[in-house]
Symmetry: C2
Subunit: 137 residues, 2 copies
C-alpha cells in the first residue's frame, strides 16, 4: 500500500517521449499555424509509425503545459504554434488561408472596463480578423 502525500494527489507526472519531442521540434522549425493533421503528416516523415491519436494527445499535453498555443478558427479546425510568440492575435486570409500574427491586443482599458461593468471576469479571449492578405487582394 502506497502512502498518500500531497505530492501524489491529482498530480500526473509528464514524461518525455520521442514522439512529443518530434512534434515540438517540428513546430519550432515551422513559422506557420498548423492543424493536427498537418502536424501529423510532417512528423510522419521522420516517425513513420506515429499515429494521429498520439499527435492529438501530445498536442493536448503541450497545450496544458503552456509550451504551445491552440486556436480555434472559423473553419472549425484548431491550429497550433509554439508559445514563444507570446500573446497575439491573427490575420487570416480568406483566399490562401495564410495566418499572420499581430501583437496588437484589443483588451485595452476601455474594453476591460466595459466587460467588468457586465459583472464578467475575463480569463482569456480570441480576436481573429478575416480578410485578404497582401498577395490576395
Amino acid at each position: 500500500m502506497q502512502e498518500i502525500h500531497a505530492d501524489n494527489l491529482n498530480v500526473r507526472t509528464v514524461r518525455n517521449s520521442k514522439q512529443r519531442q518530434a512534434i515540438l521540434d517540428m513546430l519550432s522549425r515551422q513559422q506557420s499555424h498548423l492543424s493536427a493533421e498537418e502536424i501529423y503528416q510532417a512528423v510522419k516523415v521522420q516517425h513513420p509509425k506515429i499515429s494521429l491519436g498520439t499527435v492529438y494527445r501530445n498536442l493536448e499535453v503541450l497545450t496544458e503545459t503552456g509550451q504551445i498555443d491552440r486556436t480555434s478558427f472559423a473553419d472549425g479546425k484548431a491550429r497550433f504554434e509554439l508559445s514563444l510568440a507570446g500573446h497575439h492575435h491573427h490575420l487570416v486570409c480568406m483566399k490562401c488561408g495564410d495566418i499572420e500574427n499581430i501583437i496588437t491586443c484589443p483588451m485595452a482599458r476601455e474594453i476591460t472596463g466595459i466587460i467588468e461593468s457586465h459583472d464578467f471576469r475575463p480569463m482569456h479571449h480570441y480576436f481573429e480578423i478575416y480578410g485578404y492578405c497582401h498577395k490576395c487582394q
Copy 2:
C-alpha cells in the same frame, strides 16, 4: 427552351417553407445563442417530422441571406442568433456556458491602422471573451 437573362444566371431563387419559417420564428422568441442541435430540438416540438439535416440547410440559407448570424465558439460548435442585434461580440461563461452580447467593438482606428499597415484588407472579425459571468464567479 428557356431564354437566358442575367436574372437567371447563378441566381438561386429562395422559396419559403414552413420549416424555415419555424426556425426563424423560434429564434425570434429566443434570446440566447443556440446550436443547430438545440434549434432542432426546439423546432421539433411543433414540427415533429423535421430533420436535423433540414435545420442545417436552413441555417446556412438564413446565414447567407443575412437573417441570422453564425458564430464558431471554442468548443467547436457553431451557434446562431437573429441578426437584429447588429454587430456585436460575446462574453462566454466558462462554467455555465451562458453567452452575453456586448456591443463594444475593438475595431477602432488604432487597430484598423495596424492591420492595414500589414497590407491586409479586413472583411470581418471575431472577438470572444471567455471567463466567468456574475452568477459563476
